[in-house]
Amino acid sequence: MGQRIDVEHLDVFYGKFMAVENVSMTINPNQVTAFIGPSGCGKSTFLRTINRMHEMTDKATVKGSILLEGRNLYSSEIDPVQVRREVGMVFQRPNPFPTMSIRQNVLAGIKLNNKSLTKAQADEIVETSLKGANLFNEVKDRLDSAAIGMSGGQQQRLCIARAIAMKPSVLLMDEPCSALDPISTLAVEDLIYELSSNYTIVIVTHNMQQASRVSQRTAFFNISDVGKPGRLIEMDQTTKIFSNPSNQQTENYISGKFG
């Protein structure tokens, strides 16, 4: 089941430079929350702090706290690796493991943490995850062929299947469809909509139509000037944000005056 995320006064730093300043928000469970805003406004950076991915690759540091159902993800005794098992993530470009087959890819999360699985358990997880990602019928007869042989859309859905195989409570998606053609994008968007019933989903996107189609709540980030930190301007029901936002900056962005 999805879980609630509460963010309190979160600042993100790359060394001394503050990339994101004082973000506080609540992300409701079993809902799709979209982050929109011009490029460079820190929405992806902020997304990556939710599952502490920023520590691994971007060498960023964080102040403030993020609570998952009341548990602070940044308290010292929480192991960041545990956080990433709870909070799954799907990336901009589909990244199945090239050396593994489709089946191995789905089970990768579990196998890499060398949990032992019987053949039956493994098949059951592969089937439910692939079905969950609407991919099972398309690949059920070539489960042992190489994953990189599939189309872009299929690969992205495989990544989603791989993520939900870990049974996370939250799914983060960093512009999942920007590298896909329109048909695959539609397929992924429908999948997101279905998944929202039992996962908390947070999606970062440039595509405002996608945000309005898929998400229930939307947060608009903006950057006041070059070199200044990104800030959360306004967060509300998606319908309200796209019809009459209360903040002028959101209004300008929605009507395409800049950004």
Binding site: N51, M53, M56, T57, V81, Q82, V83, R84, R85, E86, G88, M89, V90, F91, R93, N95, P96, F97, P98, T99, A108, G109, K111, L112, N113, N114, C159, R162, A163, M166
Partner: protein, 342 residues
Amino acid sequence: MSKISSFRVNLLSKNGLKSKVLFKNIKNNRLSKFIKPSSRVISRQRRQFDNFMKVLIFLSFIIVSIPLVSIIYIVVANGLTQITPYFLTHTMKGVMGGFSPFGGILHALVGTILITLGAMVISIPIGILTAIYLVEYAKGNKLSSIVNTLVDIMSGVPSIVAGLFAYSLFALFFGPTAVFGISGSLALSVLMIPTIIRSTQEMLNLVPNQLREASYGLGVSKFRTIIKVVLPTAFSGIVTGVLLSIARVIGETAPLLLTAGSIDSLNLNLFSGRMMSLPVYIYNEYSQGLAVCTNNIFGADCLSDIRMQRAWSAALVLFIFIIILNLVGTTIKKRILKKRGK
């Protein structure tokens, strides 16, 4: 206008020849009057100089091929005579002067393989782990820049100095006569470590970052990501790097001359007794000169320059050994680089 723009598009093609062809057919149609007149007048003199440089550059390729052809010719021509199954499966123990049986290089072949394996056991773990540190953990921090500089400097350590180092190290503990295989392995590993680090680094950098993020995203620790995802993806590249560094080191003579010494019989123990290796065998046979065949009371056939023939044959075997390692290494490497679309 479209004519000129297509001219510009063709120019982007990397191979210079195509653009020249296009340049010619523009000249003789109505657009040629737009080309600056001055460039056409002095072109004959500049074109001559251009052709002169072209000849010079083709010449440099010829200059480089001449020594190669002559080396391959002399090694193969002189080396083929003694390469027989007996030569490859027998040692030199019991060989007397120039009389047959003429002995073989088995003890040198096995010695080279054992010493190189010893060097691999020392240098592969250190090389790969250091490369992992430089690529995965320490991109850009102070220690990595120090280590990077030292690896470059270590790749410049002369083989004779590596030999002296290994000899003095073992002489300190086991006395001045400390000559055995493992000391040769240590000397060779000093030469191998830098090349393994560099090639592994190059291959690890080829692994796209998305793979690491994908694995982290699945809640996999950094250690397991490296062991289970990054290394398997870069595995064939790392094997190539190891093969090429073996090829570079297996032909070294100077360090083994000081550290592993020479012996006529088969020695399988790296830790005791001298151990013959192919390059030292070649130098040994070369430096023993002619054999006496004048008073041949034994009735066995006798060759006075048999030693030099054995030296050439051993050189040919070593050469083939290295060529195989090189070919296997470079073909895999080319396939990897092509797959990465480099």
